[in-house]
């Protein structure tokens, strides 16, 4: 991305944001010396996050820098059909309502640290827990890879090639790992707050600049009518199917992101969780909504871009606006610094959750259950860094074939949703059927993604989810017995279940 304002000021803002993140990590560490004493402390911030920090960490985890650059470009290309991005972010909160109230309570009672802990507590099946852990690690790994590539592109744009972008990426990754290691979830959540604010301010300045120097929605409407009238039309046929698929896949897929679930566990109390989720239900208007409008307004500035050019549309607009005056010059530098910070803030929470699953669910449960929490944390940290190093190699040497292996994320992650959500409420849930459904759904989703098949216009992840649900429910009806498993309801009730103790 070519930015008119790239170069030395870009490097300065990167250093500035990097140093702030590092300071937050150090201060967090100094104020919470016992952060490495237990998995709870390190991975969930001692289950003590209040409304504001919890809200920002939900926000920064969900909205990456990609949201700004990619979604604006998409809105420019497809027009008003991309408006779906606003409700799909709200759908995520709706799906939280399906499971968060009960799962939060259970996490408190049984010391649940990772989503896999919940699967283990509920189904007591090594197969279900292992498959769940593998799917989550795989999806998180690819999600992390996407963020690393995005940091690379952001740094390259912002420094205008003055610094090799690999150096910029290593700089941010190193800082991210240092503050993550120092303070765990607390550092991640506090830096998320700073990163979230930086992104919000930048995006609003871009919106104001666009309206001031290019024009508002009426002008944009005229341009679209002249250049791409189809972008004003209502989605029909396949477009309509795609629209509802997005609502379902993103709603369920993003709501069961393990890093999102861990934020539920980190809440100080139910009130803080309720308040921050309420705020999250309104955020899409200020974020996805504003980003969408920016993409639409881009027509007034550049009405006739090719597909390739449209990818750069945010950078092109920011470059023009930055040249207008010093205030917008600074604002646009802040915006791009904020975009990189937002990518880092998504990457850090993905990495922390990745490490937690290794610490608690693989190493702690199967390899060395006797290890101290401190040792489990160390193993998670080290393997997290190994994973980042591996992903960086892939990011810089993208494989020519099997590219799709690294694209699968939501499609397979959504396959753990039935076990997590239905498992909370349905007593008959039968572990072997849950496992078979999850596996079949994952394989089908992967197969459709690899082959590019999209029967009836329905997404691969949704096909997998349908198969998964059929196997889960039919199998549980036939083989499941109510008495053999304890339901989440039983687990919540005091003294009823002998196993009301921390999940091992």
């Amino acid at each position: 991305m070519d930015l008119a304002f790239s170069g030395i000021s870009g490097i300065l803002i990167m250093l500035f944001y990097g140093i702030i993140m590092l300071l937050i990590g150090i201060i967090t560490f100094l104020r919470n010396k016992k952060v490495h004493s237990s998995l709870d402390e390190y991975y969930l911030g001692g289950r003590s996050l209040g409304t504001l920090v919890l809200f920002f960490t939900f926000f920064a985890t969900q909205y990456s820098g990609n949201t700004v650059i990619g979604y604006s470009a998409e809105a420019y290309r497809v027009g008003y059909a991309n408006l779906v991005t606003v409700p799909f972010f709200i759908m995520i909160v709706l799906v939280y309502l399906l499971y968060a109230p009960r799962l939060y309570k259970l996490s408190r009672k049984h010391n649940i640290v990772t989503p896999v802990d919940w699967l283990q507590l509920r189904f007591r099946s090594k197969a279900v827990s292992m498959l769940g852990a593998i799917i989550m690690l795989y999806a998180l790994g690819n999600f992390l890879l996407e963020q690393l590539i995005a940091i690379g592109q952001g740094v390259a744009g912002l420094t205008g090639g003055t610094v090799p972008y690999q150096v910029g990426v290593i700089f941010f990754i190193t800082i991210m790992i240092i503050y993550g290691w120092l303070g765990g979830m607390r550092s991640v959540a506090y830096t998320d707050t700073m990163q979230g604010i930086a992104l919000l301010v930048g995006v609003f300045m871009l919106l104001i600049g666009t309206i001031l120097y290019f024009g508002g929605l009426p002008e944009a409407g005229d341009y679209i009518r002249a250049y791409s009238p189809e972008n004003l039309g209502v989605p029909e046929g396949i477009g309509l199917v795609t629209w509802s698929n997005f609502l379902i896949l993103v709603g369920f897929g993003a709501a069961v992101y393990p890093n999102a679930i861990q934020r539920i566990f980190s809440a100080k109390n139910e009130r803080a969780l309720k308040k921050s989720l309420t705020q999250m239900a309104w955020m899409p208007f200020l974020t996805a909504g504003v980003v969408f409008v920016i993409g639409i307004l881009a027509y007034t500035a550049f009405p006739d871009l090719s597909v390739a050019e449209s990818e750069q549309v945010v950078g092109m607009m920011a470059s023009v606006i930055a040249n207008e005056n010093i205030i917008f010059y600074v604002a646009m530098i802040l915006l791009f610094g904020g975009i990189i910070a937002a990518i880092v803030s998504t990457a850090d929470s993905v990495l922390l959750t990745f490490s937690s699953i290794i610490s608690k669910d693989l190493y702690g449960r199967y390899i060395n259950p006797e290890a101290s929490d401190n040792k489990k944390i160390m193993v998670g940290k080290v393997l997290g860094v190994v994973a980042v190093a591996f992903l960086l190699v892939i990011a810089w040497n993208p494989p020519a074939t099997l590219y799709q292996v690294f694209v699968l994320k939501l499609e397979i992650l959504v396959q753990v949703a039935p076990a997590i959500i239905l498992g909370l409420y349905w007593k008959r849930s039968h572990a072997k059927s849950v496992f078979t459904g999850m596996l079949a759904g994952t394989l089908l989703a992967a197969f459709f993604t690899f082959t590019g098949l999209k029967p009836l216009g329905i997404f691969s992840g949704i096909w997998g989810l349908m198969l998964n649900l059929v196997v889960y429910t039919v199998g549980s009806f036939i083989f499941g017995t109510v008495s053999s498993t304890e339901s989440a309801q039983d687990m919540l009730e005091e003294n009823k279940v002998p196993s009301a103790q921390p999940v091992k």
Binding site: P101, N269, T278
Partner: protein, 81 residues
């Protein structure tokens, strides 16, 4: 102190509401093919969808406020730090 615990999932009426909103959130009920009606440069259908989206957020806010109360008061707040 014994209070009634409220969980959104246990109240089916809530989900009828969400179902209706979800159906309206998909733009299937607009006339197809014709020139879209524009209001201040924005297609009317997009404004209607935005209206339904606001309704969804309002409804979520209402459900969280009045239909989610699983916690035991007293033990909340201190937590098991």
């Amino acid at each position: 102190m014994q209070r009634e615990k409220r969980e959104p999932i246990r109240n089916y009426k809530i989900w009828i509401g969400f179902g209706i909103i979800f159906i309206l959130l998909n733009p299937w009920y607009f006339p197809s093919g014709s020139e879209p009606v524009m209001i201040y440069g924005v297609p009317l259908w997009a404004l209607v969808i935005m209206g339904v989206t606001v309704l969804l957020s309002l409804y979520i806010t209402y459900v969280i406020k009045f239909h989610w109360d699983v916690g035991d008061e007293g033990s909340e707040g201190e937590g098991d730090k």
